[in-house]
Subunit: 238 residues, 2 copies
């Protein structure tokens, strides 16, 4: 079996509801795998895992998929072991990674994805699929045992990627400056995935989907723009 | 001796040069202490410690202070031990904290500040003076041995604090949302210091200086606005 991942920049695009803009991509990706395990650990805005699961359950129900939250299982490792598709939702990346380590899920998710379990991530859930969480935008509100993430793909994503605003008077670093700082200490490619963009990884093939494109950063190299439909296979074949 | 700290939100305000807007505050704070030790470890945009020290040296020289970078001393701990004033510049908070631990400076800075050494921080240098770095805006590009910071004051700062933009279509979390998430897992006060604002801490007294004010966040409570000149002594007396 080959790896099969759909890594989505963000769950909600301005002007539409939760997962509306990427619902078709999710349906196409899941196909006939009608059961999805949901991991709500990132708890956006600090909501409970139960409340977060309700939101995801309702949305997946509307597109014909049966979604169960991992918190409804007594043994989280076994829940992953028995799944054919998982969805890790967005929220705080540090909280998410910390919980994955706490519940001993890092190894089993890696194994299962390697043997073909479908993986969907949005925002923090896409970050976590990468080599490390070192290109998250989130506040480090809890201290995880490592910044090493699931390492399902050999590059990093910066979700919610933002182009610099030429009219801004704010002196905080731009996203591009931050990613360039990352490359002072790290070597992985970073995909700046704009809101509305996603990557489909199938084995050795990486395709940019969605409508807004991506900016790819490589150490000591000028960043490069990519458009919807472009192949980004080089991210895997480095 | 009492603690004496000047914690500045940012080093450069839109439309003016490096430390221009807060130069008078720095002069007033330092007074007759003419020698300042500079800690450049945060390396903004990844510049070298040497280049960063040059920038700070030139600026302090213009206001009549002699600034030396810690990298010019063979023994960094002894350099702090022998100083009456230090300035920790902005950049990446994770890189800065990691270097402070690596160079074994956390303990000695705490001791010296407790016995009256003047402390100036900008941005990451202000973050680091607080209880933890859990309210930084920076990317976690290196993994420090802990998020516990210098703990010179019993609260946290969020520098470069940004009010929500009502016209934004971006769906990343607002700064306020992020700080509220912090309070799901932590209890310290967080001072959202707008660019142009700073805190002067002298013993048990905390005064808001600068021109732009601050928004103070307490767990389970509505955030509160404060204006330049306001006393924020409650931050210390909690």
């Amino acid at each position: 079996m080959v790896k099969n991942l759909l890594l989505i920049s963000n769950s909600t695009l301005h002007g539409s509801g939760y997962l509306d803009y990427c619902a078709d991509n999710i349906c196409q990706f899941l196909g006939k795998n009608k059961k999805v395990l949901f991991i709500p650990y990132a708890r956006p805005s600090g909501i409970s895992c139960e409340d977060y699961t309700k939101i995801a359950h309702e949305r997946f129900d509307r597109i014909g998929y049966s979604l169960l939250g991992i918190n409804s299982f007594s043994n989280p490792m076994k829940a992953v072991e028995d799944s054919e598709a998982i969805f890790i939702g967005g929220g705080n990346t540090f909280v998410l990674l910390n919980e994955l380590y706490k519940n001993n899920l890092v190894g089993i998710i890696r194994q299962k994805v390697a043997s073909g379990m479908l993986y969907i991530g949005t925002s923090a859930g896409s970050n976590i699929a990468c080599k490390s969480i070192k290109t998250t935008n989130d506040m480090p509100i809890v201290y995880p045992p490592s910044f090493d993430a699931l390492n399902l793909v050999p590059f990093n994503i910066n979700p919610h990627y933002l182009d610099p605003d030429p009219n801004s008077t704010h002196k905080g670093e731009t996203r591009e400056t931050r990613i360039k700082e990352f490359h002072c200490y790290n070597t992985e490619y970073v995909v700046g995935l704009r809101e509305g963009a996603m990557l489909h990884i199938a084995g050795k093939s990486v395709t940019l989907q969605g409508s807004t494109g991506a900016r790819v950063f490589k150490k000591n190299t000028e960043p490069k723009e990519f458009n919807p439909g472009d192949s980004l296979d080089f991210l895997i074949k480095q």
